[in-house]
């Protein structure tokens, strides 16, 4: 049987199995449903993945992304226990004789004066859950991890998890299980974010103050997710406190943050607003102004760089059955400069010149959501959204020269601009259907209208209003429009006491420039409970991806461009199988060991010598199409309770590429390691609370060095007949792509927090040190040619030396935070 037939057969079997599963869903007449929202006692924030468990029938459920739960159990006595990470458990005992709504408010650890970081074996990702390859990182943990310049960073916290790498030093890139940086679906409240970087990739756009929950899926993707090969990062933002006003002000080394939340109408309508902005440009403003004053020719000057993030969210509870949410994110980076001069030139003519540069790039995301409880078993979330990433660049120069005597005027105007981006309009509906204990069905659909804006360049030139010299041109490709649809259904099902499965199907279509692609992707995840504390999980997932990010290989630039698949560049596909053991030790330690094997098809890689700098024109000719595979073992031990919390992660992994299609060969058509193939990856993250006033945190990472390509030999190349190279010349010999390893990367970051309760809130001083022992890790290594004259022979000679560029030495930082 050929692979295509094999795949079709497998799909048919999956569909049949899925239909059978649905047929098994029977609802007993003696069952009743208990449903409601689980929220935080003090803030009213909905709690995602909180557990509800009936200790009599031994049936349970977890709340969804909007805090809603539904549990159908037999009539009679019930003893419900509600629990959530870091919250006090709540019990409800009563006689169940009808469908019942119970909204629960759990009391958080901050009120219990107890730090509880994570761990709940009943949760989706714990020993008892069916999901594997996924980790939920509490925001409290993210905030406690010391980081570069003290800037809390969600993505950098995820980089510390096993199976995840961060690319080059300091960057906020994500390389998950051997995948590329464009293979991650980053969702902010379910809406894709296309550019997650600020400051050329050194910071991510997610402001931790606005975030409630972060979940990373590395494999065994539930069917509700699709569109990327390697990972899904599901970030949910805070709704806002529904009782009282609270806020947070933070002043750091490079940015300040402000957060305010509270009720607009008590327990009905809430708001949450978070703003972060860097202020290097503001601090430098008086310095630049002072320098400008020293030069009498300068009329006005300003220059700077900043980025900001603004997250706002309004939620309104219409009734117990209906809730509305309106959320908006805007984040930009900007570089600007203006120089206006007025002076007399050598001919004593008055010259007025004006030079300006303005670069702006960033995202806008807005979403309108409607949560509707159709009945106690069927929950709907309908979303209409808009997401856009755009990059605009403009450089302008104008001069006017006026002759005093003749009053004649010469003028010149020059403008060069460039813009690119991507934007989506999207509508989607997601349904949670909980027919009875033992089933949790999710299904839905999504339609996205993509507009790809390839690089467009505008040039304008005008001299003395001379029509013949005037230039006003626009060069670039037209917008490309694409339609993407997704349909999915999944069931988290208890097959028996010991076996639980998450079975799903994801179907997607992509229509662009008369090309139609579609993909049916079966997903399966199974848990076998070996004891109360030990389970074995295994799973399988296929994924496809219809868009590519064109970028250069080392750093993230705003010119990075998303492009759709084409007739020649077909969608990327991946298949991943994984299996592992999960163990809970003494309720304090969660241990897991997980292995995976992932194959990837239709990957693209730049040909030798090709690079990308902003123009999509001809990009298909610069890339080769090939395949890849990645496999590895991940080990994680997590301490979730007590004064000392944290995790130790270790990954052994391998990621390889093979580009051997005719005329698409890279590395002579032989296997080569992927750029971020790293054999060993260790990360240790710890937080210790000495007292209510002081806590200390630290993280240490060690990676095998990244790969690079280096010519290790030089040799004589022959002359070529009928060409200018008709005599021999020195050539460099590269044995294979990525044949050289940089030195290992390791780094220790430390942070300490001093808390003090003040009259209206709590202030915290944070001091942190990034790269505490000043390890100069490699960012780039290149051969540098040194010329010299041999003092003995007087002969002119050359020698190459390896040169390493590092960018971040030890960097101390300090920040002040006041929470009220």
């Amino acid at each position: 049987m050929d692979p295509d037939q094999d795949f079709d057969f497998m799909l048919k079997k999956s569909v049949l199995f899925f239909i059978l599963i649905f047929q098994t869903i029977g609802i007993s007449a003696t069952n009743f449903t208990i449903s409601g929202y689980i929220t935080d006692q003090s803030t009213g924030e909905t709690l995602i993945s909180a557990s509800v468990f009936d200790q009599i029938s031994l049936k349970g459920a977890v709340s969804n992304a909007f805090g809603y739960y539904s549990l159908t159990i037999p009539a009679g006595e019930v003893d419900l226990q509600y629990s959530y990470v870091g919250y006090q458990k709540e019990n409800r005992k009563f006689h169940l004789n009808k469908d019942t709504i119970i909204h629960i408010r759990l009391i958080g650890s901050h009120e219990l004066k107890e730090i509880v970081i994570t761990g709940d074996s009943r949760k989706e990702f714990g020993v008892l859950g069916s999901q594997m390859g996924a980790i939920e990182v509490p925001v409290s943990q993210i905030k406690s991890i010391p980081t570069l310049f003290g800037e809390t960073d969600v993505i950098k916290a995820l980089q510390l998890l096993p199976g995840v790498q961060g690319g080059t030093e300091g960057s906020a890139g994500l390389y998950v299980r051997g995948g590329g940086p464009d293979e991650n679906l980053l969702l902010l409240d379910g809406i894709p974010v296309y550019n997650v970087n600020h400051m050329f990739g050194f910071f991510s756009v997610f402001n931790a103050d606005a975030i409630k929950n972060v979940t990373l899926y590395k494999g065994n993707f539930p069917a509700r997710f699709g569109g990327r090969l390697s990972s899904v990062v599901d970030i949910r933002t805070n709704d806002g406190n529904d009782k009282t006003y609270h806020g947070n002000v933070s002043v750091g080394l490079i940015s300040s943050k402000f957060n305010l939340e509270g009720p607009i109408i008590k327990e009905k309508t809430t708001f949450n607003i978070s703003l972060r902005r860097t202020y290097a440009d503001l601090l430098l403003k008086p310095v630049i102004a002072y320098m400008a004053k020293q030069d009498e020719n300068v009329e006005k000057t300003k220059a700077g760089y900043y980025f900001y993030d603004l997250n706002t969210k309004i939620s309104h509870k219409i009734s117990d059955k209906d809730k509305l949410f309106l959320s908006f994110y805007s984040g930009d980076d900007a570089i600007y400069s203006v120089l206006r001069e007025n002076y007399k030139n050598d001919d004593q003519n008055t010259v007025k010149s004006n030079m300006g540069m303005d670069w702006d790039w960033g995202n806008i995301i807005s979403a309108f959501r409607w949560n509707h409880l159709i009945n106690s078993k069927l929950f709907m979330n309908a979303t209409a959204s808009f997401t856009r990433y755009r990059f605009d660049m403009g450089i302008e120069e104008s001069t006017k020269e006026k002759t005093e005597n003749s009053q004649s005027e010469n003028s010149q105007y020059l403008y060069a601009g460039y813009s690119s981006g991507i934007q989506d309009y999207s509508v989607k509906a997601d349904f949670d259907y909980i027919p009875g204990a033992g089933h949790n069905i999710k299904f839905g659909g999504n339609y996205i209208y993509h507009t790809f804006r390839p690089g467009v360049t505008v040039q304008k030139f005008n001299q003395d209003d001379d029509v013949s010299s005037r230039i006003d041109t626009t060069i670039g490709d037209r917008n490309v429009y694409a339609h993407e649809t997704m349909l999915y259904a999944e069931d988290d099902i208890n097959l028996c006491t010991f076996v639980k499965a998450n079975i799903g199907l994801h179907y997607s279509t992509f229509n662009v420039q008369k090309q139609f692609y579609h993909s049916l992707e079966p997903r399966l995840s199974m848990r076998f409970l070996l004891s109360d504390k030990l389970s074995f999980k295994t799973g399988f997932a296929t994924m496809s991806q219809y868009i590519h990010l064109l970028s250069n290989s080392n750093i993230s630039l705003p010119t990075d461009l998303w492009v759709p698949v084409t007739k020649r560049i077909t969608p990327m596909k991946s298949q991943q199988v994984s299996a592992g053991f999960y163990y809970n030790l003494m309720k304090y330690l969660d241990l897991s060991i997980e292995g995976y094997y992932k194959s990837m098809n239709n990957l693209i890689e730049y040909k030798d010598g090709a690079s990308f700098m902003g123009s999509s024109t001809g990009w298909e000719n610069k890339v080769s199409i090939g395949r890849g595979r990645a496999y590895g073992i991940e080990f994680l031990i997590q301490k979730s309770y007590g004064n000392t919390t944290g995790w130790l992660g270790y990954t052994w992994s391998k990621s390889e590429r093979l580009f051997n299609r005719p005329d698409q060969e890279i590395n002579n058509g032989e296997v080569f390691p992927a750029k971020y193939d790293r054999r060993h990856n260790v990360s240790l993250t710890m937080t210790h609370q000495f007292s209510e006033r002081i806590d200390l945190s630290g993280s240490w990472v060690y990676y095998t060095g990244q790969c690079g390509t280096l010519a290790l030999q030089t040799y004589s190349g022959p002359g070529i007949q009928q060409s200018t190279d008709n005599s021999s010349q020195q050539l460099s010999y590269i044995s294979s792509r990525n044949n050289f390893r940089y030195s290992p990367y390791h780094r220790l970051d430390l942070g300490i927090n001093f808390h003090k309760k003040l009259h209206h809130g709590t202030r915290t001083w944070n001091m942190s040190v990034y790269n505490a022992y000043n390890q100069l890790n490699p960012f780039l290594v290149y051969p540098n040619t040194v010329n010299y004259t041999d003092p003995k022979t007087g002969l002119y000679k050359t020698r190459q030396k390896l040169r390493q560029v590092s960018i971040f030495p030890i960097i101390p930082s300090i920040s002040y935070n006041y929470k009220f």
Binding site: G455, T457, N552, S553, N554, Y606, K607, D608, G609, S611, M613, S615, T617, G618, N621, K622, P662, D663, I666, N667, N668, L710, A711, L712, Q713, T714, Y715, S716, G717, P718, Q721, Q722, S723, T724, D725, Q729, Q730, L731, S732, Y733, I734, S735, R737, F740, R741, L780, Y782, P783, Y796, K797, R799, Q800, L802, R803, Q804, S806, F808, P809, I810, I811
Partner: protein
């Protein structure tokens, strides 16, 4: 000095210490390898040049010369049967006593004291059939000449004009029949011969390979963004788009000509004759990949992957390429 001042000073020193430094190479230091360079064709006896490679951190003098291997044993196998040992001539060059035939697989096995034995092989490609060479010519630009200078502003053609300078583009179409079997690779060689009744003879290999099979980027005139893809310096191509079919291969040559007005005809000397000599070669795949990758090694782009020049020598470096001439066509150019 107070401790805080010392600490501040120390931090300033650390923060502003250069983050760039020379490092030791910690990888495997590769011993010199045999380098075999040979291009073989049915028209000539087999020759090969044998040298040694250098480790990239070794010292170089400015001659750029490599150590030739004079005591190598170079064995030739034809279709896996030992044929003979090549004789040493000079400067690392070795010569066989025979020319290869079309369809034969030629293997060179080279051993030398202190170096690993290296080998490489190639198949002698069959020739494609050239059918015809067509051409058309047109003036692409003309400028008036006054007093011996031409002026690119057309409006300046006045009574001072004594003649015209022309740029003429000659478009060619070389019709040939691709071989039926498998994937084939070709190299186009175009020579413009300018001769002036024996006074001088000038040859130029410069032409525009305008055909789609050249793989040259269509946006090469886009000067807004930097592009770096393979330049097809040696004009090679594959039959991917016309496998087994007849194909009109397009290329063009630009020439210049000065024509004086009849009143200044006395200024006109003898006009040189222009001749175009076109050769099509069937080349081996390795030779194709080598010629495709080699020009790109000059590209310096820190964002790009370094160029890997194709080699087909096992346990060594270099290239054994084969080519078979499909024939030559000549055309005199006139306008």
């Amino acid at each position: 000095m107070k401790p805080i001042q010392i600490l501040t000073g120390l931090l300033v020193v650390i923060l502003f210490t250069s983050c760039e430094k020379d490092i030791e190479f910690t990888g495997e230091i590769v011993d010199p390898m045999l380098v075999i360079n040979s291009f073989i064709t049915p028209d000539s006896v087999i020759t090969a040049n044998i040298t040694k490679s250098k480790f990239f951190l070794d010292e170089n003098d400015d001659s750029g010369n490599f150590i030739t291997v004079e005591n190598a044993e170079v064995r030739i196998y034809v279709n896996d049967v030992f044929k003979e040992k090549m004789s040493y001539i000079s400067n690392g060059n070795y010569k066989a006593s025979f020319a290869p035939a079309i369809g034969e697989t030629i293997k060179l096995e080279v051993s030398a004291p202190g170096l690993n034995t290296a080998w490489c092989e190639t198949k002698m490609e069959d020739a494609a059939q050239i059918i015809a060479l067509d051409s058309t010519s047109k003036i692409t630009k003309s400028y008036p000449i006054s007093n011996g200078y031409y002026d690119e502003t057309p409006a300046s053609g006045t009574e001072d004009t004594i003649g015209y300078y022309y740029k003429i583009r000659h478009d060619f179409s070389l019709h040939f029949k691709d071989q039926e079997s498998g994937q084939n690779y070709y190299r186009l060689l175009v020579k413009l011969v300018i001769s002036d009744e024996g006074n001088y003879n000038f040859e130029s290999y410069d032409f525009d390979f305008t055909d789609i099979v050249s793989g040259e980027s269509s946006d090469s005139e886009d000067n807004i963004v930097s592009e770096s893809i393979y330049p097809n310096t040696y004009h090679v191509f594959s039959d991917e788009l016309f496998n087994g079919k007849e194909y009109p291969l397009k290329f063009s040559v630009t020439t210049e000509q000065i024509k004086y007005l009849p009143k200044n005809a006395s200024m006109e000397g003898s006009q040189p004759t222009l001749k175009i000599v076109v050769e099509l070669q069937s080349i081996s795949k390795s030779y194709y990949l080598y010629l495709k990758s080699r020009p790109s090694c000059d590209i310096e782009d820190i964002f790009a992957e370094p160029i890997q020049i194709h080699c087909n020598v096992h346990d060594g470096i270099g290239i054994l390429g084969s080519y078979t001439s499909c024939g030559t066509k000549e055309l005199n150019l006139s306008f």
